[in-house]
Amino acid sequence: MSAPSSQALAIAAEVRAGSRSARAVAEEALAAVAAREEELHCFNEVTAERALAEAEAVDARVAAGEDPGPLAGVPIALKDNLCTRGVATTCSSRILEGWLPPYDATVVQRVRAAGAVVVGKTNLDEFAMGSSTENSAFGPTRNPWDTSRVPGGSSGGSAAAVAAGLVPLALGSDTGGSIRQPASLCGVVGMKPTYGLVSRYGLVAFASSLDQIGPFACTVADAASLLEVIAGHDKMDSTSLPAPAPTIVGGLSAGVGGLRVGVISDFLPDASPRTQAALRRAAESLAAAGAEVAEVALPELMNGLAAYYLIAPAEASSNLSRYDGVRYGLRVDAPGVEEMNARTRAAGFGPEVKRRIMLGTYVLSAGYYDAYYSQAQRVRTLVSRAFSAAYERFDVLLAPTAPSVAFAFGEKTADPLQMYLSDLYTIPSNLAGHPAVSVPYALGEEELPVGVQVLGPALSEATLFRAAAALEEAADPAARGPVAVGAR
């Protein structure tokens, strides 16, 4: 087994050398999207004309002898909670249907400046709240490995588009696992960077202390290249770290000799049997490659899920108060302002968003703030300190990304708590603000892909990706995208 060849970097190299036109690459991607859209519904909008114009601009730069950027001509899909000037940004919600942002998110400016060509906006759980993309107001996305199953969520459209080979790169956002969990379920690489490494300017806010934007790709090298492009300080985001973008791709092949890897033992019992087996094999493969591997118990992390489902809804209830029928989006008219607000929000938000706003409003309301919200923030400290202690002994930690392979539509929609449990292994990194990457490693139950997650302390991206590259090399190639779309 060996590392897969890069798609995005290969395209950029050809376009930069002038041996392939960005326009031809864009046409191919648009044709692939068009052929699969009805079956998969990855996209809320395909921006075909703009994509061709952007591609022609890249070709013009190449022809003029200018540097077209490290991602020259590479097609990319954007999660539809990233603002795109003049292109509808809906968050898969009725309340923002048709909204045309007056500005581009910083990450959108950066991928374009790097020469990437935006082909469209991808489907998500409404306002990124969910783990299956079933909460989209515009219908679910289907998993290309098995179209009777969910792609995971909330960035399900981005994960599925990459897994189906429609685009080599996509951006998602991860508040409690919304990049890594769909990456695991779709057999692609998905990465949540350190909180503050990537600007959130123009990312529609869900839970501001947890949200981070990150890359999807079929290969570790491609994901790392995209992170290099979007990372780095931005004065438009006050939570942006004053740190330079990390250099990652150059060090990917340095290996894991001497790397201290801790396998989080607490997560294993709840994972499916073949997920457990995949994780054990992943740990063995790192040891075989020279890493020092040991188990570590971090029981504090098991409290993360409950803390998250207090903190994230609390922040969401505050952030989503802006949808009041005044400045953008839907308005349902009523004689008074309060009634207009309440009717607009009742008509515009779907059930999961309402549920979280209600939960968040409750835990922040008088009499419950200390019992729930403050206590959850203390648990956040608990989780964070447990990680800190672990990182005195280990460079990185290893865990499953999700408890199981992709599940069937409707399997978890009736019980919100069951759906929330999909994020058990991904949430602690968000609480601590740490980076983590999911790498497709093996086939699990029903011969569907299983991802393995590498976690690290703040700003350990270069180390994480090095470990991810080693895992990729040892992984079963049959477990990663692109995959031929189909029902099983």
Partner: protein
């Protein structure tokens, strides 16, 4: 299962959250939110009163950028996205009653 939220309390929360919920939604949410609160109740048992609450993961505080004049969003483009605008402003339903 503990009954965390009754119908009356759910109605109150919905009004705080400015959500005009249907009778059916009020009943469903009372059940579902009670189930979620049941799950998170485990946290209340943790003896962590001596730990400081963590509001966000950053070492940064009070980040300000230099107060320099620069371009801002185009007013007409912003107002074009509003449900109702008039004379360069957002238009909303009347918020003050007529003089008696």
């Amino acid at each position: 299962m503990a009954e965390h939220l009754g119908r009356e309390e759910v109605t109150h929360i919905a009004s705080l959250a400015r959500l005009a919920l249907s009778e059916e939604e009020l009943v469903t949410f009372a059940e579902q939110l009670s189930a979620v609160l049941d799950h998170v109740d485990a946290l209340r048992e943790l003896d962590i009163a001596d730990l400081p609450p963590m509001h966000h993961p950053l070492p940064l505080q009070n980040v300000l950028r230099p107060d320099e004049v620069g371009p801002s969003l185009d007013r007409d483009e912003v107002l074009a996205a509003a449900p109702a605008a008039e004379r360069g402003r957002f238009r909303v339903p009347r918020i003050l009653a007529e003089e008696p």
